[in-house]
Symmetry: none
Subunit: 413 residues, 2 copies
């Protein structure tokens, strides 16, 4: 079945808030096996809202509207949707009672007249109680089309969706969508894409789609099946083919696992402790690694050595090396990694030194020149990169490349 | 003029990513005085994308599309939009040259065939160079309608929009729209909004609109005027009223200045050197501070002290303090700041220690409990926070609170 989302609210059109409800609803609907081809945002304007609802109803089976159910006169979602479905509104006693109950519980003063607007529901509609606010959810069904009206506040829409709307939708869609995210590092986006072009050529079930991510490539493999077991059976050939082509460059097939989490689990599994020595990234690398819950098991301390003097004093980079090759050099990156491991008493260390920009570049050492170093059990390896982004982007790439290098070396250890 | 946004990407329809580009573009367009009545999201499907673009062009003057400009075969935005405007595609030599240049700089292996797809542009279109990626921006104008095609990655679309698209849009809008972003820290969001409710009541020119940001509050003051001088005159009373109410809690009125940049400029101005000592944020704080270009002037080194032993050895936290109060305590945060300043020979130091979660919490010290410490010229101050987000959110809040505390102390110094 095809579902379509309409977010109602001028605050979204003005960019005052990010439309997180749409992301939340999309993900839930995908997990329920519903196909979502369109999302739209429209303001609190009767004409445009009606036009948007009519278009959605004409091309989709289920239309989920969020927002515009409040008590004020510019909350029009219910009125307009009822009009499109040709339904009159009546006052629902049960809802009216819940509203007065809510206000007495909240002790939020006397109820103003306009609050009773929220007790009006379209004839024949299912009313879904709102346990976190006053506007009820509403389900309208007519000639095979369904409209689901939900309140806008995330703390109201989420519990309502999980408690009542998901079971309702599941009853409409017996088949489920299941997917795995094949996450790859150490390969460029377009190279990875060309490596699977043939698989993408004639795909039906499962399907494969690429997602670019800074310094990584993700392929989503999606199967439509009655249950997870059948989905796994359908996806298995595609997955093993991807493993045949990418091997250990695939660091996970789990949607929720990040590159840093994959690296940390190798460290835990091999009982290798890690430290970090950062110049241009100045903590971003360590900060990202430590976003992994429980990483304290393999990480005790790290060094941010921005000045040459700090590189010498904290992690024992040789003065001669800095003199001869400069702070931004493979030699310095190597000594930073080796020295940091020694200083921290860690088996592994990863280092970054480079010119993030915008200043500090030269003919010989331009902005974007970055060296990452890695030391695992005394084996040191460095890599040179020339990034072309702004300061923030160059630092972000440096972090991913450092993680990737570290992972490659850990796999050998 | 009426602008409409179309975000292209199946990953948005699947809820894999939140559509932050739409919020970003909406805010910028509003600031430019453009009216946005519709936003839509459509997947990488030729038929549906074409239908969506045709509808948008039929009802809006300017259509901004983001995403779907990549090298992969399911990137169709350019092809479909060119079709709707009846334009053929040709290979743009300048863009092709930029792409090969990008790859040679990135050293990311050989360029695969599909990359040249990004050098194809619609006839008669304006090509906007991408300084942070390979896909150029494209502007197509035909019979009073304009389509602007932008790359999807936020780090590519934002600089391109600010550098080239904003001036272009400004040239289309006869009357000038000028705005200042009043950025405030040290005040909660809802408190800040209640403090300006009266100003928001009957606003016309200039207008004021709040934008929430993690741990900060931003108010955009926008004036419609003939020129910037006139705009400044119109905004002056509103701005001085805001300064009267928020005083030095306003850290900038410049759109582009971040909190960390504001802090770094105080450090430079007062010639105060800084160091950092981080436990739960593990480098994120330093990493954010050092995203400020030229910060090396005031920052030489920083410490990531995750383990108690590292807190003692690297920055001289007393063993007794850790024994008696624990690593997550005001006492430890204070000694981390004082000790880090001493170890680094810096006049100022900021520290963070806390329980980011999900594990590690207890009855007495729950997940989200964070202490930040600050030492400026020997004066030490600490603050306690109880955040309620997930691990990532708690760490992000801790960073902002540490920056805010540091700024408050620097203003006193």
């Amino acid at each position: 079945m095809v579902v379509e989302l309409i977010s109602v609210g001028t605050e979204i059109l003005l960019g005052n808030i990010v439309n997180t409800n749409a992301a939340y609803l999309s993900e839930k609907c995908a997990a329920l096996g519903l196909s979502c081809y369109h999302q739209s945002v429209v303001g609190d304007n009767e004409g445009r809202l009606e036009e948007t609802v009519r278009l959605a109803v004409s091309r989709s089976d289920i239309v989920i509207l969020s927002g515009g159910l409040g008590p004020t006169k510019d909350d029009l979602t219910k009125e307009v949707t009822a009009k499109v479905f040709g339904k009159a509104l009546y006052e629902d006693a049960h809802t009216k009672e819940r509203i007065s109950g809510y206000f007495s519980r909240m002790r939020s003063g006397s109820i103003t007249e306009n609050n009773w607007k929220q007790a009006m529901v379209p004839e024949g509609a299912k009313v879904v109680d709102n346990h976190n606010g006053t506007a009820p959810g509403i389900i309208i069904e007519e000639n095979g089309k369904t409209a689901i009206l939900l309140p806008g506040p995330p703390n109201e829409i989420k519990p309502m969706f999980e408690r009542d709307i998901m079971p309702y939708l599941r009853s409409l869609e017996p088949e489920g969508i299941y997917s795995k995210m094949v996450k790859i590092c150490s390969v460029g986006e377009s190279k990875a894409e060309t490596m699977v072009l043939d698989l993408m050529e004639d795909q039906s079930n499962p399907t494969i789609a690429p997602y670019a991510k800074t310094g990584e490539v993700h392929f989503r493999v999606t199967a439509r099946a009655a249950d997870e077991k059948e989905a796994d059976r359908l996806m298995e050939p595609m997955l093993s083919e991807l493993f045949r082509r990418f091997g250990d460059k695939i660091y996970t097939t789990d949607e929720d696992v990040t590159l840093e989490e994959a690296v940390v689990s190798i460290l835990k599994e091999k009982k290798i402790t890690l430290t970090t020595a950062e110049s241009c990234t100045a903590g971003l690398l360590a900060g990202r690694i430590m976003n992994t819950a429980g990483a304290s098991e393999i990480y005790n301390e790290g060094y941010i050595t921005y000045s040459d003097e700090a590189k010498e004093r904290l992690i024992g980079v040789n003065h001669a090396t800095l003199e001869k090759y400069g702070a931004v050099s493979a030699e310095t990156a190597a000594e930073m990694a080796k020295g940091a491991a020694k200083a921290a008493g860690a088996k592994a260390a990863v280092s970054v030194t480079g010119i993030a920009g915008p200043g500090g570049g030269s003919e010989k050492k331009p902005v974007g020149l970055v060296y990452v170093g890695c030391s695992v059990n005394g084996n040191v390896r460095t890599e040179e990169f020339r990034f072309t982004g702004n300061r923030a982007k160059n630092r972000e790439y440096a972090v991913v490349r450092a993680l990737t290098l570290l992972r490659e070396e850990l796999l050998k250890a």
